[in-house]
């Protein structure tokens, strides 16, 4: 029998959005090439630093304001994905990695070029990469199964029928607005949860994995490498931060789940490839030799 400590758990977040696309126009005057910054009309909170977005021209024209060096193929296209840093005036810089986007340095931003005419665009928040929530000190996830009373006249005992499943929970984390590089080089900062709660246009949706157990990092394949986690889509319903002189600043966020709640496991496979009848796969050249996986103990 084992007892597990909270040190085995972690939270992995993937940014999400409830808005399909935002249509706008980039004017020549919106592009500041010397500061590598551009803008378009969007409401405050629509985009946050660190978001991965897709920009697509809606008339098929190339996105000429992004220099060819900013594209994977080294040539200007009509659609692309970048990480963004949003400054206090709504100016946007493009980056090719999440941590550069959070840092927001002008020197690391993708080079922009001037444009001569308007480019109509559609912007979509993609955020495909999950990241570990840094400085997380506590999480809780509750699943609830509703039961409907189907007791009828004449019954001696109450009868219940399984109905819908819902979930809710909360995080607590020590407040930080930059990724904690010492712990996780590209982690999600707890400050993002506060930003998420006040996003009005795209909603407060996120995807998360709540790990009950993560694999060991010993390099030895054993059952210690098993991983178990809940996978959910959630909506932040409340976020708060408390300041007091004697305590570290901590944020908390409550959420409810939306859609399915999955409890998943990744267990360490057997080192031998076995047939369905438990027999080993033998080599034709040597009947005594079994086919082995590369990482045999």
């Amino acid at each position: 029998m084992s007892v597990y400590l909270g040190s085995y758990g972690l939270v992995e977040l993937r940014r999400s959005s409830e808005l399909a696309e935002k249509l706008s126009v980039i004017n020549p005057g919106d592009v500041n090439t010397s500061r590598r910054r551009f803008s378009f009309d969007f409401d405050s909170g629509f985009l946050n630093s660190g978001d991965q977005i897709e920009i697509r021209s809606t008339n098929g024209a190339n996105l000429a304001f992004v220099d060819a060096s900013g594209w994977v193929v080294n040539a200007v296209q009509n659609a692309g994905h970048w990480y963004i840093n949003v400054d206090e005036l709504g100016g946007i810089r493009l980056y090719n990695t999440f941590d550069k986007a959070i840092e927001g340095l002008q020197s690391q931003a993708i080079v922009l070029t001037s444009i001569a005419s308007d480019i109509p665009i559609a912007v979509r928040i993609t955020n495909l990469v999950p990241r570990i929530l840094t400085q997380c000190s506590y999480f809780e996830l509750n699943t609830t199964r509703e039961a409907v009373d189907i007791t009828a006249l004449g019954d001696q005992f109450r009868s219940q029928y399984s109905s819908l499943i819902s979930g809710s929970g909360n995080f607590r984390a020590f407040w930080e607005y930059l990724p904690s590089y010492a712990k996780q080089s590209a982690g999600e900062s707890p400050h993002y949860l506060l930003q998420l709660a006040v996003r009005t246009e795209v909603g407060s949706k996120f995807s998360a994995k709540f790990y009950l157990k993560v694999g060991s990092e010993s390099g030895t394949k054993t059952t210690y490498d098993d991983e178990l986690w809940y996978e959910i889509d959630g909506i932040i319903t409340q976020a708060g931060v408390n300041f007091s002189p004697e305590n570290a600043v901590e944020i908390s966020a409550d959420f409810v789940t939306t859609g399915p709640i999955r409890l998943l496991a990744k267990t360490t496979p057997s080192d031998r490839l076995l047939l369905q009848d438990d027999g080993e796969i033998l080599l034709e050249q040597n009947a005594a030799a079994a086919l082995l996986q590369e990482d045999i103990v």
Partner: protein, 141 residues
């Protein structure tokens, strides 16, 4: 020994068949009163008029293991493609206690309203109202 009754003792029978998934029923008995007060009287006086009986019940929309649906028989008396005729009456026994038959009201009635719907997270239930016609067949309360 005194005895009290609860929903555990209740039944709703259609003819002689107990409807399995009924969550409640109610019966309303009314009497019209005809006033016979005349000039000079100090108190109002009445004679009995016409009795009427009506009621309601809630049923789970329920398919039994033999694919019979207990609720359907009642619902189809009103929810039907042809018009309601004088033969569309049902004999309902509203039973308060056990299977002894000593606490019954049996009424011949028309189904006068049916309300059924589906909601997220809730059971499909049907609420029916019925209006009695004629005298009660049994009244052994």
């Amino acid at each position: 020994m005194a005895q009290i009754f609860t929903g555990r003792d209740g039944r709703l029978l259609l003819g002689s068949d107990t409807l399995v998934k009924v969550t409640n029923w109610s019966l309303q008995a009314d009497l019209e009163t005809l006033e016979t007060t005349t000039l000079g009287d100090a108190q109002r006086s009445y004679v009995p008029g016409v009795q009427s009986f009506s009621g309601s019940a809630s049923l789970l929309y329920y398919i039994d293991t033999d694919n019979t649906n207990d609720a359907s028989t009642l619902l189809r008396k009103l929810v039907k493609t042809s018009g309601v005729s004088s033969t569309d009456t049902v004999s309902l026994t509203l039973r308060l206690a056990g299977d002894t038959g000593n606490n019954d009201v049996t009424i011949t009635a028309y189904i006068t309203s049916v309300s059924i719907g589906a909601s997220v997270g809730e059971l499909v239930t049907a609420q029916i109202n019925f209006q009695g016609t004629g005298a009660l067949t049994t009244a052994t309360l």
